[in-house]
Amino acid sequence: MMGSSSSDSDRQRARNNGLAAISAITLGAGAAGLVGAVGMALTLPSSTSATNAGAAGVASNTFTFTTNDDSGDDSGSQLQTGTAPTTTTVPPVATSAAS
């Protein structure tokens, strides 16, 4: 059988870290509103971008993601990566969505 490299307590710790990060973002968003949304810190991996669907152009980032909120989580490392999708102007032949 397949094993696991992480205990339940490790996972719980990771979840608690995530909850703490959510709280921090909530507080951060409130504070940003109070001071005019100036200088909201962003910690994004170099390969990460963020857009806001309601804004024109590539919008400013709305969320903060920290690279250590899943510290100790080595899950998924065997998931097979492929080439990144590319932009296209060709009409789509299929839809990827929930159904």
Partner: protein, 326 residues
Amino acid sequence: MSATSILGRPTKTATSASLHSSAWNAIGTTVRIVVADATQLGSARAMLVDDLAALDAACSRFRADSELMRLEASAGKPTMVGPLLAGAIRAALRGAQLTQGDVDPTVGRAMEAIGYDRDFATVPAQGGALRVTVRHVPQWRQIVLDEAASLLTVPAGVRLDLGATVKAWAADRSAERIARALACGVLVSLGGDIAVAGDVPPGGWSIRVQDVAGDPSAPDDGPTSIIAIHHGGLATSSTSARRWQRGGDVMHHILDPRTGRPADGLWRTVSVAAGSALDANIASTAAIIRGLRSASWLARLGLPARLVTVDGNVTTVAGWPAEVSG
């Protein structure tokens, strides 16, 4: 999946100068096949129809006569299984292992407890309040698959639900089989889990990505991205579809195995491109359940992804094209 798995009239359309498609409903979802050679469309469609009929007979939890449901009579004893069910179980266990149990095939009873106990088309949209006991569901480590002996052991009382991974796994399998047999480029979409194989059309396979399924030629429905993939697979998991209410509470089909309740996270829709539709689906489903930490998780793994928050904000990671709106 449904006993009457082939539903509706198939449509046959020329999707572009060089690509041709057929769409219909089966296994309780939308099915589409696209080929680069118009003369092969009929054969490709027939092969996929056969594949899905066999899949339904092996893996449906909504058919009392399916191989999956007949397993329950084994009451925890090792039972001989066919190669199709064995492959589907192996795919589900891969999902559980690689996500540390966030995608777990032993949620069948929990799924029934919240009302998803039949083909979704017949699940009542409204219903009375449910008495649901929150419990720690993951039991996937208790499943033993001895592939050499074709023996599967499932603990007594555990009901498997392969719905999280089986469509993507089947899309990979059929796309490869059809491309090899017909020697042409093939795209297979099963409920939005998409696998491509064979020759790549010029510019790649153009795919629209959004919350809820629709014909690719229909108007956009919510935040939408049109991208091209060249190899492997693309999957989208979303809480925007397969929703129902019990006692005023909204239910959906993506369960957190640690609570047995519908995942209640930051993201409503996550799309991932990967080396296979199966791995894309494992990652997209886990991302819905994991919530906030999913974006950094996917970025660290190098899995290109598009994540949509419950209020419609879009984030892209790991090389997924950034979206330009307005």
